[in-house]
């Protein structure tokens, strides 16, 4: 069986398909991927054997069998021969936690890059911009494997020129570097990239504390990585945008939702603060009670679909995030398809039972 090839999808505008058109095309593509992975990946085949009583009855995106994203922490799931592995991406878990391992071949990695580039040109324009990364350059040096943070920085760096790191190795503001960057690109649009929590903790709060104001009024901030830590500090999207406006006069702040298990096909925020599914990907919100489909406005567990994962069976994943579908095809920004909001991580429940006791605590 030949690996599916979806490179022709790059010819379309990322938000060009209405939900109906997209559902039809994407379902076909994802069915093809399901078949591919079931032939190529034995573990995936075993799951399908148990999950799917009646293969061939897939009529819509909601019917595509999905696997939990957590599985990539427990198992090496790949649909390529080991000599075809080009790089292994890992999620950035804190020490001691298991990390996801995502196996990429050259083709999958290349398609991820192309799709990301397509999506970013919608935000940044066609030209590459001077780029300020709100992180420390050591994030790339210290790891053998690609952590999600390192991979994100490397991936987004392709859209930047004169890439400058705003933080030093101790995650403090590197003012000489920032000032040199500002002097050089004064008055021109710049691309500012970082992880939501890092931007908040090490950029916004540090600038506030030091009483520094940066003239980044032509800056475009792109950030992602989750709101979990900011929710603990009661910082929401609005507060985040306001803070960036006040410390650096930034007018354009773009959040994205994405994960290392589906690198490339990001869900990018529009000017109205809504996350949008591009044609290469989609979201489904499932009711916790039975995994039935939640209606517009009803909270559900987020399932993400993407046609990029070809080297590993990650094209339909049940996340551990809660979100809500805001609408379909009718966002004021004119982008077609589904748009939504991420509410946050599913809360861990307290463990009850007699096996957890004296030494260990989860």
């Amino acid at each position: 069986m030949n690996a599916p090839d979806f490179s022709d999808w790059l010819e379309f505008n990322p938000y060009a398909f209405s939900a109906d058109v997209k559902s039809h095309k994407l379902t076909k593509a994802l069915v093809e991927l399901t078949k591919w992975h079931s032939v190529q990946c034995e573990s995936y085949q075993k799951i399908l054997n148990v999950l799917v009583e009646n293969t061939g009855s897939v009529n819509c995106l909601e019917d595509i069998p999905f696997i939990p994203v957590r599985l990539f922490k427990e198992f090496d799931l790949l649909s390529i021969e080991s000599d075809e592995v080009f790089k292994i991406m890992t999620s950035s878990g804190t020490s001691g936690q298991q990390v996801s391992k995502i196996y990429l071949d050259r083709k999958t990695a290349a398609l991820q890059t192309k799709v990301l580039s397509r999506l970013m040109s919608d935000v940044l324009g066609k030209k590459r911009l001077p780029m300020l990364i709100i992180d420390s350059p050591s994030i790339l040096k210290n790891r053998q494997a690609f952590s999600a943070r390192g991979a994100g920085i490397l991936g987004f760096s392709m859209f930047g020129l004169n890439v400058t790191y705003a933080l030093d190795d101790s995650m403090s503001l590197d003012m000489p570097a920032i000032e040199a960057f500002l002097a050089r690109h004064h008055g021109s649009p710049v691309f500012i990239f970082g992880f939501t929590f890092v931007i908040w903790q090490h950029f916004v709060l540090s600038l506030q504390k030091k009483g520094i104001h940066l003239p980044l009024d032509k800056g475009i901030v792109v950030h992602g990585g989750g709101w979990k830590k900011l929710q603990e500090q009661s910082v929401d999207n609005d507060a985040f945008r306001h803070a960036l406006k006040s410390v650096a006069n930034v007018n354009k702040v773009v959040n994205y939702y994405g994960m290392v298990e589906q690198t490339g096909s990001l869900f990018v925020e529009c000017e109205f603060g809504h996350l949008h599914a591009p044609i290469y990907a989609d979201v489904i919100f499932r009711r916790p009670i039975d995994f039935g489909i939640a209606e517009v406005g009803e909270e559900g567990i987020i399932e993400v679909l993407s046609l990029l994962p070809c080297s590993y069976p990650g094209h339909a994943l049940l996340t551990e995030d809660l979100g809500v579908l805001l609408g379909v095809d009718d966002c004021r920004c004119q982008r077609l398809g589904k748009y939504f909001r991420v509410i946050g991580r599913l809360e861990k429940a307290e463990m009850r039972g007699c096996s957890d006791t004296y030494e260990t605590r989860t």
Partner: protein, 408 residues
């Protein structure tokens, strides 16, 4: 009374004392099993707990209070060994589990009934159940009637710290250890006094045997009782209790079993839907576990779901080490095993409780004994899985925590 008896004092350790005075004031002069002091104290505790309005919120506290009624303890004392003269071993250290809030109280009560002085280390989880029970015990200890038991009892907290447990382990005459295998092995590697005995309650595995014919013949009321019993066995502690079933063995013809399944599980689902809305993470946990089992376990062919309340994996035969695949929050393996040959071939010393319905417990015990297997310590009706008692995990706890003074 006590001051005249020479004994090792418990040193003043840096622990938080929840019940009782400071550790060095402790008296460890043992009593006989089921002493009038013990029964009178526990009986009074039962009455106080039932009078506490917050007991309504905590069925597990109510179950403990019900168990330690004077009448129940008197009944137990009558069936206890009357042939020999016995006395408590002395000082017993209890390491209670963190996540079963009232187990510490049962452990303490067993220690008291056996005639011992007891130090119970409870977890730092601050369960409200522990607060209620410890509060009532402390109040009772102010009553001069309970001076002796008060002098022999401490409930303490300290961080999961090796040194304090090690020091107490060197002092005591018996230890009652609850915990996972890793914890138990760690605790058992500590040096104790040479005469010290340990009663260990490590990880166990439990199952349920259902007779299909009986389920098909049962009236609505009987089915209601069955599913509510099964609910208590499984869901009160999220299927994490050692005695909660993870495997359901069906007996009967294939047709009868199919009919019984389609009666039992939907009734179970209906009951669950009236009881609670499970946290979303439980659904993801179960689904993830299902996929993991599909990859790791050979021979799991089909899956049935009752919404996300119950996941059932159907097995054609029972695989060895099935206990390594246990799930949580309502995740079951199911198989037909009419002569229990399958079960007997996989039972090992991890197997603890068999709950049953429509099958005679006596016949199950007979086949366990005939087969000469190393597991299964308990066969009880569905609904009784969590009912802890003085016989547990195959131990006669009161007997083991006391010593015999022989005359010949």
């Amino acid at each position: 009374m006590a001051a005249a008896i020479p004994m090792k004092r418990v040193p003043d350790l840096s622990v938080e004392v929840i019940v009782g005075s400071q550790l060095p004031e402790m008296v460890s002069q043992p009593l006989t099993p089921y002493s009038s002091e013990a029964i009178s104290f526990l009986g009074a505790l039962s009455i106080r707990l039932f009078a506490n309005p917050s007991i309504r919120l905590y069925p597990d506290v109510a179950a403990f209070a019900y168990w330690c009624r004077r009448s129940n303890l008197t009944r137990l004392s009558r069936s206890f060994d009357t042939q020999t003269r016995r006395i408590g071993r002395g000082l017993v250290l209890h390491i209670a589990p963190a996540n079963v809030p009232v187990n510490f109280a049962f452990s303490l009560a067993f220690g008291i009934l056996a005639g011992n002085a007891n130090i119970v280390r409870i977890s730092e989880s601050n369960h409200p159940q522990a607060t209620i029970i410890c509060g009532e015990i402390s109040d009772l200890f102010r009553d001069p009637k309970h001076t002796r038991i008060a002098a022999m009892t401490r409930v303490i907290k300290y961080p999961r710290e090796h040194e304090i447990t090690a020091e107490l382990s060197r002092l005591c005459h018996a230890r009652v250890l609850w915990g996972g295998d890793v914890t138990i092995n760690h605790l058992r590697s500590m040096i104790t006094s040479p005469r010290c005995i340990d009663i260990c309650f490590p990880d166990r595995y439990s199952l349920c045997i259902l007779g299909a014919e009986a389920i098909n013949a049962a009236d609505e009321q009987a089915i209601d009782n069955l599913v509510s019993g099964f609910y208590n066995d499984v869901f009160l502690l999220d299927q994490n209790a050692c005695s909660s079933p993870h495997l359901v063995i069906w007996q009967g013809s294939r047709e009868d079993v199919d009919n019984a399944m389609s009666r039992f599980w939907p009734a179970m689902e209906h009951l669950l839907s009236t009881k609670f809305v499970p946290p979303a993470i439980h659904a993801v946990d179960k689904y993830s576990h299902l996929c993991s089992v599909a990859i790791r376990l050979k021979g799991c062919t089909s899956i049935s779901r009752q919404q996300n309340y119950i996941y059932r994996v159907r097995l054609e035969s029972l695989p060895e080490k099935i206990e390594n695949y246990r799930g949580q929050h309502g995740f079951f393996f199911e198989a037909i095993d009419n002569d229990l040959e399958g079960l007997k071939s996989i039972v090992d010393d991890r197997f603890q409780t068999v709950t049953c319905f429509g099958v005679s417990p006596q016949s199950i015990i007979d086949s366990i004994i005939e087969a000469g297997v190393n597991g299964v310590d308990r066969v009880v009706p569905v609904g009784k899985a969590l009912d802890i008692g003085v016989i547990w995990d195959g131990y006669d706890i009161i007997g083991t925590l006391s010593r015999i003074i022989s005359e010949q």
